[in-house]
């Protein structure tokens, strides 16, 4: 892990480059169940934003509905947030981002929120390659409505109620790669180190960065027979490769320049170094990334890490040719063509 830790070491008062302590990235007290994976992810988000020296008010956090979608209230208290309706975070995020391209957008969703009711919005925000980090806190169930299976629950996997899931599961990472996301990763709420690294890379990436994080629901889906339980994930997790995230500001140290790693430069100048790639997988090639996922599935493994990365991906604004100036800052001057032109328009309707 290579994210920068500040030199000062008073855990409480530790300040980042902006002079903020970690506290200033926290939110309200969580009302989730004790031990819920989602809280670990919130905590990782806090750490990431703190360590990346992001100005909290330049971040926008958005969500749908569910336990997972409540978390934006529990991190980044100084950021604007939008807890929208079930499954519709992507469209709201699209609108917000179109209005102001200068902010950082972090969307949080659940597997019910994204893979069921929201799968259409998910597929299409991915297709638009909206510049945002899209996190799914994936517990294979509907936590907030008390534990029904979700569409990411793996076929055959047994939930608390005991009956095995009968339908095919939806692999959101595979869908994201196929659909046009420029960055796709999978993590586990129990592996904070990896989460932090991939979230940093996701934020540095321009375009849609999809991060699926397996996040056990301790109340309804944490029995060992569930493929979304702590035990199961720990036993079946397989990293596609190890990787390092090197922020732009940091000087690249020599141990990263050896031949065994592939450096990929992200939009903000940061670098991601992929090491120990398995059997020649090229994570910058969709077909190869998808094949890896399919293979892992056949072997009942959960592949984690950065699964796909298109360093040249173009986000919605670039593709549509929107002004570099945020649209929400424009006034009559830029926007109103004026009466003289209107008179001309009138003439063309005579």
């Amino acid at each position: 892990m290579s994210y920068v830790r500040s030199a000062i070491r008073h855990p409480d008062a530790e300040k980042n480059a902006l002079g903020y302590t970690r506290k200033e990235y926290e939110g309200a007290i969580s009302s989730l169940c004790a031990g819920c994976g989602h809280d670990s992810i919130s905590s990782a988000i806090i750490t990431v934003c703190f360590e990346m020296d992001l100005e909290p008010h330049r971040i926008v956090k958005l969500s749908g509905i569910g336990c997972s979608s409540k978390t934006p209230a529990y991190f980044l208290g100084k950021s604007h947030g939008f807890n929208s309706v079930h499954g519709r975070m992507p469209s709201v995020a699209t609108g917000a981002n179109m209005a102001n391209r200068d902010l950082i957008y972090i969307g949080v969703s659940g597997d019910g929120d994204t893979a069921s009711i929201g799968i259409g919005q998910f597929a299409h925000v991915v297709r638009r390659n909206l510049n945002m980090v899209y996190i799914v806190m994936n517990n294979g169930c509907y936590g907030l409505t008390k534990g029904q299976d979700s569409a990411t629950a793996d076929k055959g996997s047994k939930t608390k109620k005991g009956s095995p899931v009968v339908l095919e599961s939806i692999d959101l990472c595979e869908m994201a790669i196929q659909g046009g996301a420029g960055f796709v990763a999978r993590g586990f709420s129990g592996d904070k180190k990896q989460m932090i690294m991939m979230l940093k890379a996701a934020i540095s990436h321009t375009g849609l960065a999809f991060v699926d994080i397996v996040s056990p629901c301790v109340s309804f889906n944490n029995v060992p027979s569930s493929t979304k339980s702590y035990t199961w994930v720990r036993e079946h997790m397989e990293a596609s490769h190890t990787f390092d995230f090197i922020p732009y500001c940091q000087e690249i140290s020599t141990d990263y320049t050896n031949g065994k790693t592939t450096p990929i430069t992200l939009h903000d100048g940061s670098t991601i170094k992929i090491c120990k790639v398995k059997n020649g997988t090229d994570i910058t090639r969709r077909s190869s990334a998808i094949a890896e996922l399919e293979k892992a599935k056949e072997q009942q493994h959960i592949l984690t890490g950065v699964l796909y990365l298109d360093p040249d991906s173009k986000d919605t604004h670039e593709v549509l040719g929107t002004s570099a100036i945020p649209l929400n800052s424009m006034t009559e001057k830029e926007l109103c063509p004026g009466n003289e032109l209107l008179a001309k328009v009138n003439d063309s309707f005579r």
């Binding site: 008010h57 604007h80 469209s91 609108g95 259409g120 649209l327 929400n328 005579r350």
Partner: protein, 607 residues
């Protein structure tokens, strides 16, 4: 007896869609309009792309009646599929022009109409050999013939063709040639057979001929809309397409070539309005447009925008429901669905434009209202208004006009505060609170917007008093809205008359004409045009000043009447429904007849 009239008749063209007839017919309508004669063109088209019957009807009215009149004086019947139907619908004394390349069947034996035979196909094929051109030019030939029959100078129509093909002058030539063929043929074979004619006039004045969707799109452009989320649906599609077309002309930065707007074709209507909401929340002016099924799909999000108080504009171009209904027919039948959209105690502000000029105005105003009221504002257009050209006042924009962005806190405002800021804190009693855009200030003014219950400081709460306070404040805001929306337009035809009529939107023209007619038989009916919901006190005052009030509208269920009654301020029996809902625009005759019958029944009862 032939109908003989100048500048006052109805002509209809019966065609097959996708055959190029639309632009030919339009050419004639434009020509008459440019001669200064008021017209009301109306297009009846099927919900498919090619090969089915379509009609184009032009009402010509020197007096300036712009509603559909009903009845056809002159029909140009060039669609074999509907020949009989077209033949039968001509008014006694009227004219029936057909393509006599194929003889009219024997059983077509009306004596009360004038049949004008022109061998369109033959004339066309003799002159032109390119089959693609043949189809198009046959249309122009009949336009030539009709021009001759209506005494329109050949030159005037030629000018119109030249204007139309300004950018493709090569195409102008065969068109003018075709025009002349038809014109000459009619002169040669049917001179003096037609009693209808067009004479140039000054009645049009400064007015323009525009469709409501174009006007609404322009309204949004002028009002500074920057983010659009939409999903194609007839008849609202062209609102967005116009916006985008003009934005590409007037909103692209000269230097960078970058766009000062963005139009996102979403995956469906839920996403379309979601995009508008996200952008409205973030401080851009945002809108969407839809029709029928799209409105239904936006229901959940409309409730969110109401409760979380996010400004958006929705242009609802109503079509004939329920369900998919008749997508290419008109109605005013989404009133309840729009006003009461979404579960729980939700209500939405509605505006009712009557013509393209008001589509422009009200769409622009809708953005100010939405920002001021921090709530969705729905512009209630319809297919008739949106997709047909209407004669209307030229558009105007006051260059001194400033966008009213409503109560928004800047970083400086936040700095200057002495009390803690609350997103849902009503500091001045109008029910509207100050909002902030994301990213405004490093440590002030951030909050989480949500559709769940929240207190004055935007914190999630399940406390019942906090919820209740919020809901009451929203009711207060609704009363503020009542003061801000456009007032009704009231015309007193006779002081003290106890009979009145009210109408709105596209019912206006036909209603006024009907009331004029009734006035000419000494029935004086005062009138009110409703322009917005929530209704002001004067709406009810007007109603209560009369014994009976006809509520004229284009839906089955008398939805406006229901909406008016919901306030519980009107006596039973006072409001009388006048409805028309078969998908074609309402006419003066329909209104007059229904009012007549109702008045008669009333008299009988009173005797």
């Amino acid at each position: 007896m032939k109908i003989r009239r100048v500048n006052d008749f109805v002509i209809r063209f019966a065609n097959v869609n996708g055959s190029g007839s639309a632009s030919a017919n339009d050419l004639l309508a434009k020509t008459i309009f440019r001669l200064g004669v008021p017209i009301n063109p109306y297009n009846i088209f099927p919900s498919n792309i090619q090969g089915l019957p379509t009609w184009f009807e032009v009402r010509i009215s020197e007096k300036g009646y712009l509603g559909r009149r009903g009845g056809v004086d002159f029909i140009v019947a060039v669609n074999g599929q509907t020949l009989r139907q077209d033949y039968d619908m001509v008014q006694p004394g009227g004219y029936f022009l057909y393509d006599s390349t194929r003889k009219l069947p024997d059983e077509y034996r009306r004596e009360d109409i004038t049949v004008i035979d022109i061998p369109l196909t033959r004339l066309c094929n003799e002159e032109f050999s390119d089959p693609r051109l043949q189809q198009l030019l046959k249309n122009i030939i009949y336009i030539g013939a009709v021009s001759a029959l209506l005494d329109i100078p050949l030159d005037t129509v030629s000018q119109a063709i030249l204007k139309q093909f300004k950018k493709k002058p090569k195409l102008a030539k065969p068109n003018i040639q075709a025009l002349k063929i038809g014109f000459d043929y009619a002169c040669a074979h049917h001179s003096n057979s037609c009693g209808l004619s067009i004479r140039s006039s000054t009645a049009v004045g400064d007015r323009i001929l525009m469709d409501g969707n174009t006007a609404a799109g322009l309204g949004a452009l002028y009002a500074g809309a920057t983010v659009v989320g939409w999903y194609p649906i007839t008849p609202s599609t062209s609102v967005i397409e116009t916006f985008e077309r003009f934005a590409n002309l007037y909103r692209v930065d000269k230097e960078s070539g970058k766009k000062n707007f963005t139009v996102i074709q979403a995956e469906d209507e839920l996403a379309a309005i979601g995009i508008a909401i996200g952008a409205g929340w973030s401080g851009a002016r945002a809108f969407t447009a839809t029709s029928g099924p799209g409105l239904s799909l936006m229901t959940e999000f409309l409730g969110l925008a109401y409760f979380a108080e996010i400004p958006i504009v929705l242009v609802n171009v109503q079509r004939c429901g329920p369900s998919t209904g008749m997508p290419t027919r008109t109605q005013q039948a989404d009133i309840l669905a729009s006003a009461y959209s979404s579960h729980g105690d939700t209500r939405n502000v509605l505006l009712f434009p009557r013509d393209p000029h008001e589509c422009f105005q009200m769409t622009a105003d809708a953005f100010d209202l939405a920002d001021r009221l921090q709530t969705p504002v729905i512009v209630m257009s319809d297919l008739d208004l949106g997709m047909n050209n209407h004669l209307c006042e030229a558009l105007h924009w006051d260059d001194k006009r400033k966008y009213d962005r409503g109560k928004v806190m800047s970083a400086e405002d936040l700095e200057a505060l002495t009390e803690p800021w609350g997103r849902y804190l009503d500091v001045d009693g109008d029910g509207i609170c100050y909002r902030t855009y994301p990213g405004t200030h490093p440590d002030k003014g951030a909050y989480v917007t949500r559709g769940t219950s929240h207190n004055e400081y935007a914190a999630y709460t399940e406390e019942n008093q906090a919820y209740e306070r919020g809901m009451k404040r929203l009711m207060g805001k609704w009363n503020t809205a009542r003061c801000l929306v456009p007032r009704p337009e009231i015309t007193i035809r006779k002081k003290g008359s106890k009979i009145a009529a009210l109408y709105f939107g596209t019912t206006t023209d036909a209603a006024r004409e009907a009331l004029d007619q009734l006035e000419s038989s000494s029935i004086f009916i005062n009138e009110m045009r409703i322009r917005a919901y929530p209704f002001q006190k004067e709406v009810f005052d007007f109603i209560n000043q009369h014994d009976i009030v006809f509520v004229i509208e284009q839906n089955r269920d008398s939805q406006m009447k229901i909406l008016l009654s919901g306030g519980c301020r009107v006596s039973p029996g006072r409001l009388i429904a006048v409805t028309h809902f078969n998908g074609l625009p309402i006419t003066a005759i329909i209104i007059r007849n229904q009012i007549h019958t109702a008045l008669l029944n009333r008299k009988l009862k009173q005797q």
